[in-house]
C-alpha cells in the first residue's frame, strides 16, 4: 500500500510540473497586462516603469526561472491587480467554492443515486421513464440558462430565495462557512442546485445502467433464493456493486466541479475561485491565472488519489491484487 501511494505521488508531481510549464507558456503569450491595467492617461514613462516593476521586460525563460525559484519557496507570484500574493487571494476564495461544490456533490449524490437505482429497478414504469427523461434535460440544457431560469422563478417571480451572492458566514474549523445559518443556506440552495443538476443527471444515468446490469447477475438471484428481503438485496448486494463505477465518476466530477464552477459562480455572483479566474483572465492577471491552474491540478490529483483509495476499499478484488504485486 505504501509503495502504491508513493508511486502515485510521484506521478502526481510529474503532472504538476508539466502543467506549470504548459500554463506558464500559454498565459505569457496572450496580450500585455500593462495595457489593460494602466490608467489610459498614463505617460509612456509610467508604462515602462510599471512593465519593469511587474518583471514583464525580462525574457520568457528568465521569468519562468524566477517563478520556479519562488514557487519552491511557496510563493506563486504577486497579483498584478491586487498587489498581494496570488496564492493568498485564491485561498481566500477557496472555502466559498469548496462549500458550494460539496453541497452540490451531496445533492447530486443524495438525489441522483436513489433516483438512478429506482429507475434501474423499474425501468418501464412511469416513474422510471420520467426520471430518465428528466435526466436528459439536466444534461442538455446549458448551465447558465438553467441558472438564470432558477433565479427567474425562485427569486424574481416567487421571491422565495435571494437572486445571488453568499449569505451570512460563521467560523467553522477556522474557515468562513455559510451553511450553518439560515440566511447562508437560502443563498446556497440555488447555486448548489444549478451546479448539481448536470452531475445529478450523470449519476442518475450511471446508477440506472449499473443497477440494470447488476440486477441480472447471478448473485442477485442467489440472494433472493436465500430468502433475503428485497430491501436488503437492493441496499446491500446491488448498491455495493454499483458504487464502484459511480464513485469513480463522482471523484472525477468533484474535481471539475471545484475547479470550474465558473459559470455558476458568475451567474449567482458567488464569491468563489471560479469567478476569480474569469476576472483574472479578462484583466490578464497572469500570476493569479498560473497559481489558480496549478492549485486546480493539485486538487484534482488529490481527489483522484482519494478515489483510488476508496475504490480499493470498495472492491476487495482490487485491493488484494495490488498488495500481491
Amino acid at each position: 500500500m505504501i509503495v502504491y501511494l508513493v508511486r502515485r505521488l510521484g506521478q502526481s508531481l510529474l503532472a504538476l510540473v508539466a502543467m506549470a510549464i504548459l500554463v506558464f507558456i500559454g498565459v505569457y503569450f496572450i496580450g500585455n497586462p500593462v495595457d489593460v491595467l494602466i490608467n489610459p492617461e498614463a505617460t509612456q514613462a509610467d508604462i515602462i516603469a510599471t512593465t519593469e516593476r511587474l518583471g514583464l521586460d525580462k525574457p520568457l525563460y528568465q521569468q519562468f526561472g524566477i517563478f520556479v525559484m519562488n514557487a519552491l519557496q511557496g510563493d506563486l507570484g504577486t497579483s498584478f491587480v491586487y498587489g498581494r500574493p496570488a496564492l493568498d487571494i485564491i485561498l481566500e476564495r477557496l472555502p466559498a467554492t469548496m462549500e458550494l461544490a460539496l453541497v452540490a456533490l451531496l445533492l447530486s449524490v443524495g438525489i441522483g443515486i436513489p433516483l438512478g437505482v429506482w429507475a434501474g429497478l423499474r425501468p418501464y414504469s412511469i416513474a422510471g421513464r420520467s426520471i430518465m427523461g428528466g435526466s436528459l434535460l439536466g444534461f442538455s440544457l446549458p448551465n447558465f440558462w438553467q441558472g438564470m431560469l432558477l433565479i427567474l422563478i425562485f427569486a424574481v417571480i416567487l421571491g422565495w430565495l435571494p437572486a445571488g451572492g453568499r449569505g451570512e458566514t460563521t467560523e467553522f474549523l477556522g474557515l468562513q462557512v455559510s451553511f450553518l445559518t439560515l440566511d447562508g443556506l437560502s443563498h446556497l440552495i440555488l447555486p448548489a442546485i444549478n451546479l448539481a443538476l448536470f452531475k445529478m443527471s450523470l449519476i442518475i444515468r450511471l446508477a440506472r445502467a449499473n443497477t440494470r446490469e447488476v440486477c441480472l447477475q447471478d448473485y442477485v438471484k442467489f440472494a433472493r433464493a436465500k430468502g433475503l428481503s428485497g430491501r436488503r438485496v437492493v441496499l446491500v448486494h446491488v448498491l455495493k456493486n454499483i458504487m464502484i463505477p459511480v464513485v469513480t465518476i463522482i471523484g472525477l466530477e468533484l474535481g471539475s466541479m471545484v475547479a470550474f464552477a465558473i459559470v455558476t459562480e458568475t451567474v449567482f455572483a458567488w464569491p468563489g475561485m471560479g469567478k476569480l479566474l474569469i476576472d483574472s483572465i479578462n484583466l490578464l492577471d497572469r500570476p493569479v491565472i498560473v497559481a489558480y491552474l496549478m492549485l486546480t491540478v493539485l486538487i484534482i490529483v488529490a481527489i483522484n488519489l482519494l478515489v483510488d483509495v476508496i475504490y480499493s476499499l470498495l472492491d476487495p478484488r482490487i485491493r488484494l491484487s495490488e498488495m500481491n504485486g
Partner: protein, 328 residues
C-alpha cells in the same frame, strides 16, 4: 403419506417480442421426503426453468402460466411473494451452477452466510456466525474461521461451491434444488462434491432435485430420473431402470453418447440434429425430426403414458422391454 413436492402440469412461458417460448409446457412429477430426483436434459430443455419456477424466481418477460406446485400440501403458486420469501432459503434452498457469480464478489463470506441465517431466524450475529461455521465444517471445509473472513474470489471453484452448499444447508431445508452444481468444476472435485452431497442428504433426510445435462454424473446419485426435452418430461422412472432399460429413443441416444472405455477406438454415437428453438417447435412429437424411429404417427403429440410399474414414457414407438437393453 403425501409427497413433499408435487408438481402438476407446470407451464412457464416467456413472452418475447418474437413470440411465446414455452420453456416448460406441462411438466408433472412428484418427490418424497429424502428422495433424490435427477432432472436431466440438454440446454433449452426447460430443466433450469423448472427449478426456478418452483422457487418463484422467474423474472419478466417470463411467467408461470399454469399448473400447480404443491409443497407439503400447499400450492406455492397460489401464495404471495411474502410466503415464497419465507420458504426460500429456509425450507427450499437452491444451489446454482457457477459459484463465482452466485457469491457476491464484494461481500465477505461471513456476511453472506450471516445474512442468510438472520433472514429467517431472529438470532444474534454471534449465534449466526456460529451456525455458519458449523455449516462450513459440515461440508468438509477445514479452517472455517479463515474462510469466513475471506472473499469469494480467494477460493478455488470447488471450495466456493462447498460454501454455496453450506449456505443452502443453514436452515436444514426440506428440499434442495441444485442447478448443475458441478458442471463448472474439475472432474475430481465433482466426484468429491457428489459424494458429500449424497452423505448429507442421507444423514439429514433432505430431498434433492439435481438438475444436470450429464447423465453419468447423476446416475450414481439419484433415486429417480426424469428426462426432459423441449419443455416436457419424456421419460421417467427409477434410476437403475432408466439407465439399464431406456425406452425413449432420446434417452437411449443420451446413454449411448457417453464414451465408454470398452469401446475404445470406435466412432462415438451421436444423436443427429439439434434441439429445436422453443419459438419454432415442430408439431406433434418434438423429438420426431431427430428420431430414427419416427413415422407419420408421430405427427400427433404423444402423451406421457405408463410403461411398466413406476415408469412412464412419452413416445409412440418406445423401445420395448426386451430389446431396450443399452448396448454395452
Amino acid at each position: 403419506m403425501t409427497a413433499l413436492l408435487d408438481v402438476k402440469n407446470l407451464q412457464t412461458h416467456f413472452f418475447t417480442r418474437d413470440g411465446v417460448a414455452k420453456a416448460v409446457d406441462g411438466v408433472s412429477f412428484s418427490l418424497d421426503r429424502g428422495q433424490i430426483l435427477g432432472l436431466v436434459g440438454e440446454s433449452g430443455s426447460g430443466k433450469s426453468v423448472t427449478g426456478f419456477s418452483i422457487l418463484g424466481l422467474i423474472d419478466p418477460p417470463g411467467r408461470v402460466a399454469g399448473g400447480q406446485i404443491l409443497f407439503d400440501g400447499d400450492d406455492l403458486l397460489a401464495g404471495g411473494e411474502a410466503i415464497m420469501r419465507n420458504l426460500r432459503g429456509k425450507r427450499i434452498a437452491m444451489i446454482f451452477q457457477d459459484p463465482m457469480m452466485t457469491l457476491n464478489p464484494v461481500l465477505r463470506v461471513d456476511t453472506q452466510m450471516v445474512e442468510t441465517v438472520r433472514a429467517h431466524d431472529n438470532v444474534s450475529k454471534a449465534e449466526a456466525l456460529r451456525r455458519s461455521r458449523e455449516a462450513l465444517v459440515q461440508v468438509g471445509i477445514s479452517s472455517p474461521d479463515e474462510r469466513l473472513q475471506s472473499y469469494p474470489h480467494q477460493f478455488s471453484g470447488g471450495m466456493r461451491q462447498r460454501v454455496a452448499i453450506a449456505i443452502a444447508l443453514l436452515h436444514k431445508p426440506d428440499l434442495i434444488i441444485a442447478d448443475e452444481p458441478t458442471t463448472a468444476l474439475d472432474v475430481t472435485i465433482q466426484a468429491q462434491i457428489l459424494s458429500e452431497v449424497q452423505n448429507i442428504c442421507a444423514q439429514s433426510g433432505t430431498a434433492l432435485i439435481w438438475i444436470t445435462h450429464d447423465l453419468a454424473v447423476v446416475s450414481g446419485l439419484a433415486d429417480r430420473l426424469a428426462v426432459m426435452y423441449a419443455g416436457r418430461i419424456i421419460e421417467e422412472g427409477p434410476t437403475s431402470d432408466v439407465i439399464s432399460n431406456p425406452r425413449h429413443p432420446y434417452t437411449r441416444g443420451l446413454i449411448d453418447s457417453v464414451p465408454q472405455g470398452k469401446r475404445h477406438g470406435a466412432m462415438l454415437t451421436q444423436i443427429k440434429g439439434m434441439t429445436p428453438s422453443l419459438l419454432k417447435l415442430p408439431q406433434g412429437c418434438k423429438f420426431a425430426p431427430r428420431c430414427p424411429r419416427a413415422d407419420r404417427v408421430c405427427e400427433v403429440e404423444p402423451t406421457l403414458d405408463p410403461a411398466g410399474p413406476d415408469r412412464s414414457v412419452r413416445c409412440h414407438h418406445p423401445h420395448s422391454e426386451a430389446n431396450g437393453k443399452a448396448t454395452s
